[in-house]
């Protein structure tokens, strides 16, 4: 595949790709975990990393490595739900506001700017405080999705606004295309890279937000995610007691995951950038 060969020339893609496949391997491993994710006291507690417990064990009596595999899986589930659903809202708002223009544009953008300016984090916390027990994986994802679309709706709208003025929009309308097929055939190929990179940024944001919600104790703490593992580690004073392996695992894994996602998305969106794709077509 020519594309892959080109992509690997970019060191960021190579690093991002390998990190992601390593983490993906961990997610797969979580299905073969010998330990139950929620049960306590399955292993001797507070053991430093050793051969049979690669990353040691924590004060809850669970193996840190296998807990971590569950944590990544659950965090990714939440983040993917949040990312995908917020994309749908962002694309809808962005395309309608961008294409319709006039009054609808002014209203939609008024709401979006309002949402941007208000510190959403606090309202999110307020809502989570009330939902508290109901915040299972899916619900947290939905909650984050509802608060995570405003920023990207704005960027998508500005790109649609510029596309609307381009002459091929009129050619497409004159060719009898309905608004829907116009958006699908003409605008999507040009906005895919933007939507893709905003998806990755939103996933990173969602993972960060989930951690903070967990620290505030607003999610179901028994389900292992990157946030809840960190929350337990802090609650049991892992830093003070020197259980560095327990607290560093979620921190390092989160950094690896987010750096990988970011590098992967930056290199992909540069590769998909319409200007460069056009040059590639020209050179065939």
């Amino acid at each position: 595949m020519g594309a892959l060969r080109d992509l690997f020339k970019d060191y960021r893609f190579a690093v991002g790709f390998f990190l992601l496949s390593f983490l993906f391997f961990l997610v797969i491993a979580s299905f073969f975990s010998p330990y139950d994710p929620i049960q306590w006291l399955q292993v001797p507690r507070d053991k430093p990393p050793s051969w049979n417990h690669i990353l040691g064990t924590n004060s809850k009596g669970q193996d840190v490595f296998w807990e971590a595999t569950f944590a990544i899986r659950n965090s990714l589930i939440i983040a993917l739900i949040a990312g995908l659903i917020s994309r749908i809202i962002a694309i809808l708002v962005g395309f309608i506001a961008g294409y319709k223009g006039g009054f609808t544009d002014r209203v939609l953008m008024g709401i979006t700017d309002g949402l941007l300016v208000i510190p959403l984090f606090l309202i999110l916390v307020l809502v989570a405080m009330l939902l508290r027990e109901a915040l299972t994986l899916v619900n947290t994802g939905l909650l984050l999705a509802f608060f995570g679309w405003a920023w990207d709706a704005r960027t998508i709208r500005s790109q649609v606004l510029s596309l609307r003025e381009r002459e091929f929009t009129f050619t497409s309308v004159l060719s009898g295309n309905s608004t829907l097929s116009l958006v699908g055939k003409e605008y999507l190929p040009l906005t895919i890279p933007l939507i893709f990179s905003t998806l990755i940024n939103n996933i990173a944001w969602a993972i960060g937000m989930e951690i903070v919600l967990a620290i505030l104790g607003l999610v179901r703490l028994e389900i292992p995610t990157l946030g809840t593992t960190l929350q337990w580690a802090i609650n049991y004073q892992a830093m003070l007691l020197g259980h560095w392996w327990w607290i560093l695992t979620p921190v390092v894994l989160t950094i690896l995951l987010l750096v990988a996602l970011y590098w992967f998305s930056v290199s992909i969106s540069e590769y998909l950038d319409p200007r460069i794709r056009i040059q590639r077509i020209g050179v065939k």
């Binding site: 020519g2 080109d6 040059q279 590639r280 020209g282 050179v283």
Partner: protein
């Protein structure tokens, strides 16, 4: 009539690297010419014929992907010809605007949008004139504008407050601020309406008559050349195909391409059908062998197909690069 710039066997190509494939675009292909003193020297040709690249070479600003393969561009500085490409960046910077300057095509976004024009003028002056206070430089600029019939009030405005025509005149005033000997203009009036264009051409003519400097005017519009250029070169596929004084070029166009360029232009009051050049413009990546115009030339011969005609004198001031036109100089076609 000695020349100001001598161009000898200049070959400047764009080397493009995409998807592992290397492509060289032969934009300026073995061009030699003499830019005279006290003249408006016109370069005519269509998009993709290499006239803008020739300007870059004349301006000695060759940056990747453009590379100099061969040839020299020499400036005549106090009597001596110096190869412009041997100058280092500092020397080049000093020559800019004091010896040679440049008028951009669209003046839409050529000035710093967030600063008054006064500040942009001062930027140029302070970079080239030493030992003068801001105020003196400003009065120098105001005086220059008044001399060109522009109100100095324009310096207090921001670029977006002026119309296209006025902005282009301010750009021309800026390019002639430090009295350079040569002013290169790349399609200076294409972005303007016909009335604004007339005013801008009028300004350029007045400046040339006033300061006796040389304008190198690049445009595809033969009407502008007829109107203002005193001497002309026609470029096609990176080569000069014909060169001579403008009245002679229009009265006796020798090269078939020049004939097409002139006769294909519609004129008010004359409805005779106009034919455009057959075929498609040549690719500069692999230009056709022999004379580059042969695929589109109605009088093509085998000689044209395999050997490239040199640009030589059909008369001592009128040169053409075409096998059919060489011997029978002065014949009317």
């Amino acid at each position: 009539m000695n020349g100001l710039i001598k161009v000898e066997q200049l070959q400047a190509f764009y080397v493009l690297e995409a998807m592992g494939k290397k492509k060289t675009v032969k934009a300026v292909n073995n061009v030699s010419l003499n830019i005279p003193e006290n003249e408006i020297y016109g370069v005519a040709g269509e998009s993709g014929c290499g006239k803008t690249t020739l300007l870059k070479a004349l301006f000695a600003s060759i940056e990747p992907p453009l590379q100099l393969f061969e040839g020299k561009v020499s400036y005549r500085i106090n009597g001596k010809f110096i190869n412009a490409f041997t100058l280092n960046d500092q020397e080049k910077r000093e020559l800019r605007w004091t010896y040679i300057s440049y008028i951009p095509q669209g003046s839409m976004s050529v000035f710093n949008p967030v600063k008054k024009l006064k500040v942009t003028y001062l930027d140029f002056l302070e970079s080239h004139v030493r030992g003068k206070a801001g105020q003196d430089l400003l009065s120098l600029a105001r005086h220059h504008l008044e001399k060109l019939g522009l109100s100095p009030q324009v310096l207090e405005a921001f670029p977006h407050q002026l119309s296209g025509g006025m902005r282009q005149r301010v750009a021309i005033a800026l390019s002639t601020l430090l009295k350079p000997q040569i002013i290169l203009a790349d399609e200076p009036t294409t972005a303007l309406d016909v009335v604004a264009q007339r005013a801008v051409l009028q300004l350029m003519r007045d400046i040339q008559q006033e300061y006796k400097n040389t304008f190198v005017l690049v445009t595809h519009d033969m009407g502008i050349h007829a109107n203002i250029s005193t001497r002309m070169a026609i470029m096609y596929a990176g080569k000069i195909v014909e060169e001579g004084p403008t009245p002679e070029i229009f009265s006796q166009p020798l090269h078939p391409y020049t004939q097409f360029l002139i006769h294909s232009l519609p004129r008010i009051g004359d409805k005779t059908t106009r034919k455009s050049v057959p075929g498609a413009p040549p690719s500069l990546i692999n230009p056709p062998p022999g004379c580059p115009f042969h695929p589109r030339c109605p009088e093509v011969t085998n000689l044209c197909k395999d050997k490239m005609p040199a640009l030589n004198n059909s008369s001592e001031i009128h040169r053409v690069a075409c096998w059919l036109r060489r011997e029978s100089s002065g014949c009317h076609s």
